[in-house]
């Protein structure tokens, strides 16, 4: 008779403990939120249960003697190019539970990462390159609607002075770097990291996005560097919130889960989250799949202007969508509906929780989406009416540079910001037990993130990327990020088909 599930030993990881190095100090026991390590009273030593390991590497990182190593479980099924182990294991799990496969973080599937097939240009001989360490270099970025034309009034006859701008400019978000911290809600990640993002954004002169979980009262003071988000659950949305930030974002879709809503699991709803979201402690926070007041572009227009009315047209309104098949036409509709910013989230974008089937099979890569949207808006003569933000799978500063060359005004980074504070992409964010203290509201775990240290790490990352972007710009003979925007001549493709190059609007290397 079976006394354990037949797939119990088909676990993903193996904990290797070096017996000579282990001093039985129990640090691993205290660090592991999944109880993979335990104290064996009979044998008087620390032992472990491989089946409980999620591969977060927290114990390995903190083991004082370096006795631990987390490895993939070497147990191998008969090789089969079609039935890869992931599909087999998923079927075993679903047969046991009848459950929908749930996943965290961005999709790990092997779809082309076009950043890796795009190469940047550099100046040689002519148009000399610029050294940003000694020469001015401009990364300043303004997000918002730009006028079709600007008009000036000359000084009155006989009077001295400068011409005066008479065109009324739309509100803008001013950024010192073309990078922002992407929407990660208070609830999906904890309060300490919201404090860290707010402080880092303020120090850097960029913005962070609140995500859909509202804004805690104590963070209103960082408003100048905050974009407040309004999603279908409308958690924490009220007049004061809408007027707290430098911009308002309507979240329609998310790259990791296009077309569906969200369930922030009850495990993550503690007192503070309950207060901000106004839902009972321990209940799931459910975000409907659509905004039920938006069933059309006209309805979107209605919400955009409801938000503009509520904020007296003081801040730009962004609309965030997932990158899907008809993204260019949708973006055009969004711009025509009055959005000042269109944020597009590619299919590799992160999430705290998404059904694995959706995350891994729905949507399109951000590179193709940005290129298609930028081209469409240019063709229609409305590119100036809205800024474009690229999100989902920005791994390094070169990705930012390539996104901007493809037509983005700025990038949102989420996963990269979490990696900066220790995330190892184990993808178990939905359990609420993140041993790194990131995707958890358990006070014992969340205190592992010190807001000061986390803010410093996030700020360090953006500064480092800023330097690198300046170097890459300088190498191309450009002294301003503006000159790179939509400048696809600075990109060449390697190993792409003519269709892919046509969509990306780039030539093959060598041409």
């Amino acid at each position: 008779m079976l006394f354990q599930p037949i797939n119990k030993n088909y676990h993903d990881y193996r904990i290797e403990r070096d017996k000579d190095l282990c001093i039985n100090c129990k640090v691993c026991i205290r660090q592991c939120a999944y109880e993979a390590h335990f104290w064996d009273e009979a044998r008087q030593k620390v032992r472990h249960d491989n089946t409980k390991c999620v591969g977060c590497h927290r114990c390995e990182a903190l083991c004082p003697t370096g006795a631990l190593c987390i490895r993939l479980n070497e147990s191998e099924f008969r090789p089969n190019a079609c039935w890869r182990p992931i599909f087999m294991k998923n079927i075993y799990k679903q047969a046991d539970t009848g459950g929908v496969l749930l996943a965290g973080m961005g999709s790990p599937v092997d779809i082309p990462v076009y950043w890796d097939n795009l190469l940047l240009d550099a100046s040689q001989v002519t148009n000399p390159s610029i050294d940003p360490l000694r020469e001015p270099m401009e990364l300043k970025t303004f997000l918002g609607s730009k006028p079709d034309r600007v008009e000036f009034a000359a000084p009155a006859k006989g009077k001295k002075g400068k011409p005066k701008l008479t065109t009324k400019l739309a509100p803008q978000i001013e950024l010192n770097y073309p990078i922002m911290f992407s929407a990660m809600s208070f609830g999906s990640i904890n309060f300490n990291l919201h404090v860290a993002m707010a402080r880092a954004a303020t120090e850097l002169g960029i913005c962070y996005n609140t995500g859909e979980g509202g804004l805690h009262k104590s963070l209103y003071k960082y408003g100048k560097n905050t974009i407040v988000q309004v999603a279908s659950g409308r958690f924490g949305v009220h007049a004061e919130y809408l007027n707290a930030g430098a911009g308002i974002e309507i979240k329609i879709g998310q790259g990791a889960k296009p077309g569906i809503g969200g369930h922030l699991p009850g495990e993550k709803i503690n007192e503070k989250v309950s207060e901000t979201r106004m839902i009972p402690v321990g209940s799931d926070a459910i975000s409907p799949a659509p905004h039920h007041d938006i069933y059309s572009i006209e309805d979107l227009h209605q919400l955009i202007f409801a938000l503009k009315e509520a904020s007296r047209y003081r801040v730009p309104v962004s609309v965030k969508i997932a990158a899907v098949h008809n993204v260019a036409a949708i973006a055009s509709g969004i711009v025509r509906a009055g959005a000042d910013i269109v944020a597009i989230d590619g299919m590799r974008g992160g999430t705290g929780a998404a059904p694995a089937m959706i995350r891994d099979n729905v949507g399109i890569p951000i590179e193709l989406a940005i290129a298609a949207v930028d081209q469409r808006l240019r063709d229609e003569g409305i590119r100036n009416r809205a800024s474009i933000i690229a999100a989902g799978g920005t791994r390094c500063s070169a990705d930012v540079v390539k996104a901007i060359a493809l037509g983005a005004d700025a990038c949102y980074i989420g996963t990269a910001a979490l990696l900066a504070v220790g995330c190892t992409l184990c993808g178990k964010c939905y359990t609420g037990k993140c041993p790194w203290g990131i995707a958890t509201n358990d006070s014992k775990l969340s205190k592992r993130q010190n807001p000061d240290i986390a803010a410093r790490k996030m700020a360090n990352l953006i500064r480092a990327w800023g330097h690198e972007i300046e170097e890459m710009l300088g190498g191309m003979g450009l002294n301003s990020i503006e000159s790179l925007r939509g400048n696809r001549d600075k990109l060449r493709a390697v190993g792409l088909s003519s269709t892919e190059m046509d969509i990306l609007g780039v030539k093959h290397a060598g041409r």
């Binding site: 998923n90 799990k93 679903q94 046991d96 539970t97 009848g98 459950g99 929908v100 496969l101 749930l102 996943a103 279908s232 659950g233 409308r234 958690f235 949305v237 009220h238 007049a239 004061e240 809408l242 369930h263 699991p265 009850g266 309950s274 207060e275 979201r277 106004m278 839902i279 009972p280 321990g282 209940s283 799931d284 926070a285 459910i286 409907p288 039920h292 007041d293 209605q302 919400l303 202007f305 409801a306 009315e309 509520a310 904020s311 007296r312 059904p355 694995a356 178990k428 939905y430 359990t431």
Partner: protein
Amino acid sequence: MATKTRKKLTLTAGETYYRQFNEKIREAVDQGVTDFVLNDVNSQRYIATGLTGDLHFQVQGVPGQDMAAFMSGPTIRVLNNAQDGVGNTMDDGLVVVEGMAGDVIGYAMRGGRIYIKSDVGYRVGIHMKAYMEKLPVIVVGGKAGDFLGEYMAGGIILLLGMFSDKPDAPVAGRSLGTGMHGGVIYVRGEVPVTQLGPHLHSQPCDAEDMKIIRGIVADYAKELKLDAKKILAESFVKVRPFSHRPYGNLYVPA
């Protein structure tokens, strides 16, 4: 506490575009006007949207979409029908509509009261929320369309089914309370089980419920000059969530 001196203003909407009209209202509020009479309103959108504080509006004519959206505090009385989106994500205050209202009334409402005399459309009161003393209330005197109280996370919906233009319609459309995980929906009389969302069923109201209902009905009747006794002459049923985590068992870690 010293009472703030009231300052009155009558504005005529006529054919004024909503942006100019609402800016006029906001400027008047900035100048200390507290009591507005808005005449000849012709579906101008966003009336009182985003406004806060102790303000009063009397609206003659039909206000447009998203009236009182994100509103926090003011009182609005509409002497006629209202369109869609009344009290969208409303935070506090009172909206009284002396006629019917359209779809998505009180979407994600966080507090305050919305009293509709007659019928309402689809998806009314969806995803209402509550926290501590903030308890939103919607009362519909007539009948409701489909998906009343969908995703409801808190607050109270009271459906009377009395002052309706739809004599043959059931008191509520299909999928009442579907996905609700907090709050309560009270219905006067009975609600057919066919109209309820999956796994939900109506239960009789107990003394505690009746105390709450009587309080709400008294206020509603006063605001709309109705006979509270007549409203309370019938019994009431309640629909509550079957779980705070209706989808808690849906998933397995991949």
